[in-house]
Structures are given as C-alpha cells and as structure tokens.
C-alpha cells in the first residue's frame, strides 16, 4: 500500500524542540498555524519574528526563522525598525494581552496608526500567564486573578479593553479582526485570518492585526477542555469575533 502523508510537522517548525507551554494552551495551536502559513506562502527564509515578554518569550526556539526578542510591550517599535530597514522581509509581532494592551499600548496604537507594513498576532487570554495569573487589562468583570482576588471590579479597575474595536477607530490600519482557537471550527477561521494578515504584508498593503482569543488553563484553574469552553462562553460575548476593518 502506498503511504500518503496527510499530517506532518511544518517545515518552519524547529527540529527536535518541545514547547514549554502548559498542556492545552492555545499558544501551541497558534504557533502551529503561523508555521503552516509560513510554509504555505513559502516565506521561511524571508520572515522575521519578534518575540514578546510573557509566556511566548521563548517562541524563537520553536520557529526555524530569524527572530529578535522584544522588551515588554515594545515589539511593534522593534518590528518598525526591522521592517523599515528591510522592507523586503515579512515581519510580525506576536504579543500577549499584558504586553500589547497594557505596557505596550502606545507602541501598538502608533505602529498601527503609522500603517507600518507589519502583521501583529495578539493573544488574548484575559490574564498575565507567565507571571502567575495577575489581572490584565483584558480580564473580564468578576474574573478572579491573583491581583483581583474578589473578581475584577469595574469601579476599581475599569472594564476590559477591546483592542480590535479601539484600533478600528484609527483611519490608517488596514486589517483588524478577532478570531479564537477555542474549537476546531474556529481554528480553521483563525488560520484564514492569520494567513490574510501575512498576505496583506506580502502585497505591501499596510498594517494587519489579528486578535486570537485563547486560554490559560493553569491560571484560570481549569482543565484544558473547561478552559476552551470558558473562552467560548465567557470571552466571546465580551470580545465578539469578526472583521472590524478590511482595507475599506
């Protein structure tokens, strides 16, 4: 019988590495999607990633492409410097919610507003994962974290920030969308969106931003299955999926 390979590791996934992510974490899914897209677009030698501070700080170990670490929140500025000096390369930032929506708010807004020809993948899991489960700007109302032990109180901490909607108020950015990796049907949509964000850059079309609603079973105190159910039942109502801007 002829052997037909229908599933394999992406070529741009580094050889012989295993991620440090917790079982069931959405980072692994999103990493794989990006690698598949890099392979499908044939841009492995031309892609430069910037790694965030947070759970994905070590992502450069897992991708067989050029990578530079960024200080917390500064990836959009770092990527600006890379892309401006190497406009022939495909440059992306991969950032969590503490990184992008808190300490790096200025950098993301201004990179988007300058229309840098970059791609941003924004992982929103409503918590600081790496530091052990503190409240993020995206933490939901009533959500308990190590620094909101009684649940997030809007009187004290305001309401969770919707970054897609915020960025969509700007005239310049081209493509802004929110997806999730909570279930296979969503993952297929997520891949389409991320791929478009890379294709936009290849075509020189301006700034693309993909928010990915993810999970954090460890710091949410849930099993992987429960956590993705919570992403769907609790996060999506506050963070609606969809396209907010598409070069209109």
């Amino acid at each position: 019988m002829k052997e037909v390979k229908i599933y394999e590791r992406p070529k741009s996934w580094a050889k012989d590495v295993h991620t440090h992510y917790c079982p069931g974490c959405g980072h692994g899914i999103t990493h794989r999607l990006i690698c598949e897209i890099i392979d499908e677009l044939g841009i492995q030698d031309d892609t430069i990633g910037t790694a965030p501070v947070g759970c994905a700080a070590l992502m450069y170990d897992y991708f067989d492409i050029d990578f530079c670490e960024a200080a917390h929140g500064r990836a959009p500025a770092l990527a600006t410097g890379i892309k401006r000096t190497r406009p022939d390369k495909i440059v992306f930032t991969y950032q969590g919610d503490g990184d992008l929506a808190s300490i790096g708010t200025a950098e993301i807004i201004h990179a988007a507003n300058r229309g840098e020809k970059l791609t941003t993948i924004f992982i929103n899991n409503a918590i600081y994962g790496m530091t052990g489960g503190q409240m993020a700007p995206t933490t939901l109302i009533g959500q308990k974290t190590t620094t909101s032990p009684f649940g997030r109180d809007p009187e004290l901490a305001g309401y969770p920030m919707r970054m897609c909607e915020l960025l969509a108020t700007l005239e310049t950015p081209g493509f802004i969308t929110r997806v999730t990796v909570a279930k296979p049907k969503y993952i297929i949509e997520a891949k389409k969106a991320i791929k478009q964000a890379f294709v936009n850059q290849i075509e020189g079309r301006g700034y693309s931003f993909v928010e990915v609603l993810s999970n954090c079973p460890t710091n949410w105190g849930m099993t992987p299955v429960q956590s993705f159910e919570w992403t769907e039942s609790a996060m999506i109502p506050h963070y609606p999926l969809g396209v907010f801007k598409n070069f209109e």
Partner: protein, 350 residues
C-alpha cells in the same frame, strides 16, 4: 566638502549621513531637535527613512530593530529622553546590536532644565539601564571633533556589535562653528550576514536569534563573561588629549565643552609661568586611567572641572590612586565654569 559654518546638531546629523546612516528614529526634545528635523528632510531623499516615534521608548526600540538587521542606525535625544531609552539600550547591549546614540545633555535631575550640562556622565559610563553592560562613550570638545567621532561611532558600533554613545552637551548642540564633513567610507568592518536578521538565505538557511534572555544561570553567566571579554577588548579604543602637560605641577581633568574653557585658563596661567596642563578624556568609557595615573603621579594636585556636581571625580580618583590630591570644581548645568573661576581654583591649589 569645504569648511562650512554649521550648527553642532546639524553637523552631527550631516556627519552621520556622510558615514552612511540612512535611518533615523527619534522623538523631539530640546536641545537636540535640529537633528531629527535635519534627518526628516534629508533621509527620504537618499532612499532611507526617518520615523518620528511616539516616545523615546519606541525610538530606541526602533533603533534596536534597525540595528538588528545590521543597518547603520542612529537616534539622538537629551537627558530625560536618554533615561527613557535606557531600557532599550540595555537590551541592545545584551543582544549585541550595533547602534549610535547621541545625547545632547541638559540639566537634571528630572526635568532639570534645557540649558547645557554634563550631568549624564554616570548614566552614560556606568549604565542607566539594568545589568552588566557598557557603552563606548565618546565626548567631543569641538564641532569638528563631533563630526569625526560621530562617523567613527558607526564603525565602532559595527566592529564591536555594541551601542556607542556620543556624549555632547547643549553648547555643542547649539553653537556654530566651521566644520569640514567628508564622506566616510567604512573599511574592514565585519560583515552583517553571519548574525543579522534578514540574512537567513545568505547563511544557507540558518536562522539568527537575537536575544538577551538566558533562563539557565550557567548560560547567563557565560553570556556575561563573553560580554565582559568584549568590554576589555574595547579598552584598546581609549582616546585622550594631553594638553600642555610638559613639566606640569597641576593637572586639570575635563571633557567636552568644559575642557575647551579650561584650555583658555591653562593658556593664561602658563603665560604667568604657572605650570598647569590638562588631560582631556575623549573616550569616557573606556576611561584613560593609565594615562591619568602616569601624568598625576607626584603632582601638587589634580583638579576635575565639570558642568555637573562632580560625576567624573570618582573615575579620576580611582585612576590617580592616591598619587596626588584630587579636587573638584563645577556648576550644575546651565552655568558653565568660567575661565576666571578655573584660574582661581588652580591658584588655590598652588
């Protein structure tokens, strides 16, 4: 290019362009605004880019990104702006990325003032950001020297894959002087392809990872030992000017604009027969400690003059190592030590 009358900030900007710098990332702050203004007009015309960042934090990270592709890159700022950049400078040093940073110093601490100062000596030479890192720090005293050091800074940055700082004061930024700015062609610099981002094809498919994170303590220690080895190698770049030191009984130590003022005081005193000379560090890191010790040994005194409250004094004391008494005179910035004041200080030592 013939000698032309230029403002210091513009001379630095043109010198950078003539050294092959086509990319500039900056944020407005007095008294260095003419540099980004000059760059914003020139760079787009030569196929480069000027980006006005949203903050100094962003500017220095853009510099990190540009430097990470092995491109000649520069930013300029002034004291409080350099404080904001210090986070990024630490990352740039930790990731071993070449970059040129100009600090046109103004008074501090905090918002301080907008007038000239030398109060960032310690920030420049001893860190500012976190961790065990060093910058090469060059301190010009004339605009012509600022031009030459700026051009040299790009070569040093590439050679050592390290950030290089030009430490100028507000006087140097704002005064006008005749300068000659030649095209500077870098020679014998190591190629970027073995390490820089965007050269994966040239490396035959081998990726580059630029990082300063080493979670394993043994790896972190190894990384730091390598950095220290490089900093010791950088010591051979030490530069200084010994001015009228022959037979001197008193040695003056000053850098930048202050050294220029001190030169007049030395000339006046020498005319009176008072034997005084000056050692002017041109590199503040590496510091010319051996030369200072050699010159200071057995003298009546060493006088450090600065436009700050005495930041270089500890380096001079460490260099002199008790071989002569060391004293200090200075103003905090905005007020420059005058020729007359310096003369009085020297006379008091006699």
């Amino acid at each position: 290019m013939a000698r032309v009358l230029m403002k210091g900030t513009e001379a630095i900007a043109e010198a950078a362009i003539q050294a092959g710098c086509k990319y500039f990332f900056g944020y407005p702050i007095t008294p260095q605004n003419e540099i980004p203004e000059y760059m914003s007009g020139k760079l787009p015309k030569i196929g480069g880019a000027y980006v006005q960042a949203e903050s100094e934090l962003a500017a220095i990270n853009m510099v990190m990104g540009g430097g990470a592709t092995g491109t000649k890159i520069m930013t300029t700022s002034s004291s409080p702006g350099i404080s904001l950049m210090s986070e990024g400078i630490s990352y740039i040093a930790g990731c071993e990325i070449p970059a040129v940073i100009v600090n046109v110093m103004r008074g501090g601490p905090g918002l301080g003032g907008i007038l000239p100062s030398q109060a960032d000596y310690m920030q420049a030479t001893k860190g500012g950001g976190n961790g065990d890192y060093r910058l090469l720090v060059l301190a010009p005293s004339t605009l012509q020297e600022a031009v030459e050091l700026t051009q040299m800074a790009f070569d040093l940055a590439q050679q050592y894959r390290n950030p290089v700082m030009i430490l100028a004061d507000g006087f140097m930024g704002q005064m006008m002087e005749a300068v000659e700015i030649k095209e500077h062609i870098s020679e014998n610099l190591p190629p970027r392809e073995p390490w820089a981002l965007g050269c994966m094809k040239e490396r035959g498919g081998k990726r580059a990872i630029l990082k300063s994170l080493y979670l394993n303590p043994e790896d972190l220690e190894r990384h730091n030992i390598e950095l220290q080895k490089k900093y010791r190698e950088m010591e051979k770049e030490v530069r200084f000017e010994a001015y009228r030191c022959d037979g001197a009984e008193i040695l003056l130590c000053a850098f930048g604009t202050t050294a220029r003022i001190a030169r007049s005081a030395i000339n006046n005193l020498r005319n009176e027969g008072i034997k005084v000379g000056m050692l002017r560090p041109i590199t503040l890191y590496p510091f010319p400690k051996e030369k200072i010790r050699e010159l200071a040994t057995g003298l009546k005194g060493v006088l450090v003059v600065e436009m700050n409250m005495g930041q270089m004094v500890e380096d001079v004391e460490a260099a002199v190592c008790g071989k002569a008494p060391v004293s200090f005179f200075g103003h905090a910035g905005g007020i420059a030590p005058s020729v007359k004041e310096i003369e009085e200080q020297i006379r008091a030592i006699l």
